[in-house]
Symmetry: C2
Subunit: 490 residues, 2 copies
Amino acid sequence: MLTQDKKQRNWKPIIKAFEAVLGKNGVVQRREELITYECDGLTGYRQRPAVVVLPRTTEQVAEIVKICNQYSIPFIARGSGTGLSGGALPVIDSVLIVTSLMRQILSIDLENQRTVVQPGVINSWVTQAVSGAGFYYAPDPSSQIICSIGGNIAENSGGVHCLKYGVTTNHVLGLKIVTPEGEIIDIGGQIPEMPGYDLTGVFVGSEGTLGIATEITLRILKSAESICVLLADFTSIEAAGATVSDIISAGIIPGGMEMMDNFSINAVEDVVATNCYPRDATAILLIEIDGLEVEVAGNKQRVIEICKKNGARNVTSATDPETRLKLWKGRKAAFAAAGHLSPDYYVQDGVIPRTQLPYVLHEIQTLSEQYGYRVANVFHAGDGNLHPLILYDNSVHGALEQVEEMGGKILKLCVQVGGSISGEHGIGEEKKCYMPQMFSQVDLETMQWVRQVFNPKGLANPEKIFPTPRTCGEAANASAIKQFEGVERF
Amino acid sequence: MLTQDKKQRNWKPIIKAFEAVLGKNGVVQRREELITYECDGLTGYRQRPAVVVLPRTTEQVAEIVKICNQYSIPFIARGSGTGLSGGALPVIDSVLIVTSLMRQILSIDLENQRTVVQPGVINSWVTQAVSGAGFYYAPDPSSQIICSIGGNIAENSGGVHCLKYGVTTNHVLGLKIVTPEGEIIDIGGQIPEMPGYDLTGVFVGSEGTLGIATEITLRILKSAESICVLLADFTSIEAAGATVSDIISAGIIPGGMEMMDNFSINAVEDVVATNCYPRDATAILLIEIDGLEVEVAGNKQRVIEICKKNGARNVTSATDPETRLKLWKGRKAAFAAAGHLSPDYYVQDGVIPRTQLPYVLHEIQTLSEQYGYRVANVFHAGDGNLHPLILYDNSVHGALEQVEEMGGKILKLCVQVGGSISGEHGIGEEKKCYMPQMFSQVDLETMQWVRQVFNPKGLANPEKIFPTPRTCGEAANASAIKQFEGVERF
């Protein structure tokens, strides 16, 4: 990876300008301190930024961005750095604007069910702040105890409970943003539907390319009266997949509906020993039903019937918080467990129509055998959002390349059956070369035009999302693109 | 109103080009036939188009738009013409592209709960096409038996059931659009969350300024197992308003929650004689609860308790389809009833936070007394989406101007309490001069930049949504703007 740093530019006056805005403590430039910021959750890609700045207010962010504009320096916003597609990866000679000091919950309005937060606020803090009054914030990425709301906005993050309640974009009412030229603008508002163009919708999921959100108005929901978690085990993937479809077709939308395959089940039992997950099951479903007590009781019976009809061997359920937590424990620990099983793993994030689950899982198994890498499948079954974890050893020469190639084939498969190359992790650095497989040239051009409107100099998070001949024309990526040749756009 | 027509331009080669694409029957140019197209549901504004064209396919729409580009002719798309903000109002010397021959339901995929339709398909046809299999299309504007899906997309239409299920934008998965330059592009897709910028979100509600949707992928929902309609009557607006807040605070989201005031109640009883609405009630609430039988039964009891606690005199309920229809009948006929009471009426479409209902309704009453025009209030209480109907007689000199001024004051009030100048009718021609009251100059400029990306020549539905010095600087509108002076942006 590239390790060029800040020598070629005269950073002295720039640092001085940053320090005038933030004080000396707000500017990080020592080489050993910068190492922390070399990568985000996509650990295979690394690039040290020239400088890291730590603003506390909207105005400070705007000042920093203006200085970057003055000197034509690329800048990248970063929250907690948990992103999985390299969205917060620095570029050479860039400024990383880190929001970890912007951690205030600015206001809470329970009556109108909204709260205004700074971008560095941790996802789970929002729920903590309002749970006493019986409310919660719905989007819950696996990393929710460390990931930031700003990062969630950038990547339009999902989570277990997004099946019923929608992803981040469905919970953002308005944003104060600093544009890539340093202007402060307000988009959206305090109420869900505003007249004019829906700029909030465009901004959420734009991965830092359209500016930096500095105040975020979130919708909070009333906590459910009752919650029930069911664990159903199956002797075939097809049966588990059919159960998922049948539950949705019955008009039941569970709070979450997750699937784990045999390999994942054994991995988590080895590591966290829930003693709840049957080690001989081909697949398990974890189904959370929430709502009124009567509703939950009724839906629970119907879900159990559907599971049994599809051949579930056992269905256990829990409504008390302690047992519910125990049932979820293995699912929540699945990624960590994969880390115990193998020195490295590569997570994919493809989406498919629910009806294609059995076919796609079978094809992934075939690829796994063909390439000789084990795959653990643990994913949001209700949304058709797959997270195959490909286990490999990065110290073996050529392994990463093979695994990336295999991952590319999984994405190709998702697109072939009418799905998508990303469900909730974003495109970032990692998948930009796959974008032409989902979008025509005109579609991508239209997005680029929109980008141009907000980000005319291209300084805000450059080289992300969109493929360029320079980055995607290189040998490795060209071969990745080649895999998709002949795939029809759906 | 302006009545200038097509004399100043040589239309001969243009008409010939249109006829080459659509045949003679697809091009309407006789003066008496054009009268139909002079206005939409905002009947106070009229402008005859130069030509009306009736395409049947995406390719024909693209060809027409290319011809308009070649000759620099402004064009406006129109569905059924039921819009209430003048979004389909022609401009001088323009081509009206009417989608009423694009009425095919192209595909239905029940398993994945989606359908692809042409823009001229009538809203209620979508539900009709899938109801046999137990599905429905959720957004239900009052005009649903005549309004088109294309128009719903343009205005991001709402309806009674949008409280629980969201407005049009929440039900559109993807769009094939003809850009204002005649290119055909696909935005969004078959699955809810796609990577890249959310252009579908921007397009929905853009009122025809970013292009013409020619194929629309809609999400369809499973019909509820059980539905219950409750009618609660109150002796004060405050009590009805508090009931609305309390129901939502209790974590119950009704399918719909509508309020009518005493004047509306008596108007509909005079005209359609439901014999269900108590004529002496100060306000009634119509509350529809849907879901599983057990859920509906449970929520019904809780809603009744909340109504009683807030002083409801009576709460009646119905689950059988016939009585439910009877309870809804008066609400559905409310606009028509206002038409019987008065030669003319002016509908407003403001949004306020639910907690502000009693205050705002009281202020509207004060304005009504001050101006001497009766106001019937009938609206989506759960969303805080007001529809005050101001009754007046257009044959009285100066009445329309007074009523528009009064309407402007109501919108000012909505903005003052943290609401919006439009809930579901759009900005169109009618409210563009109020946009600066909700958005800063930079916000509006940003939207205009986005418009510029799609619509660089400004030919697609010009003069809508955005205020211009020419249109909003004129005397009448300047005074409307003046009303808002001193109002803080929230």
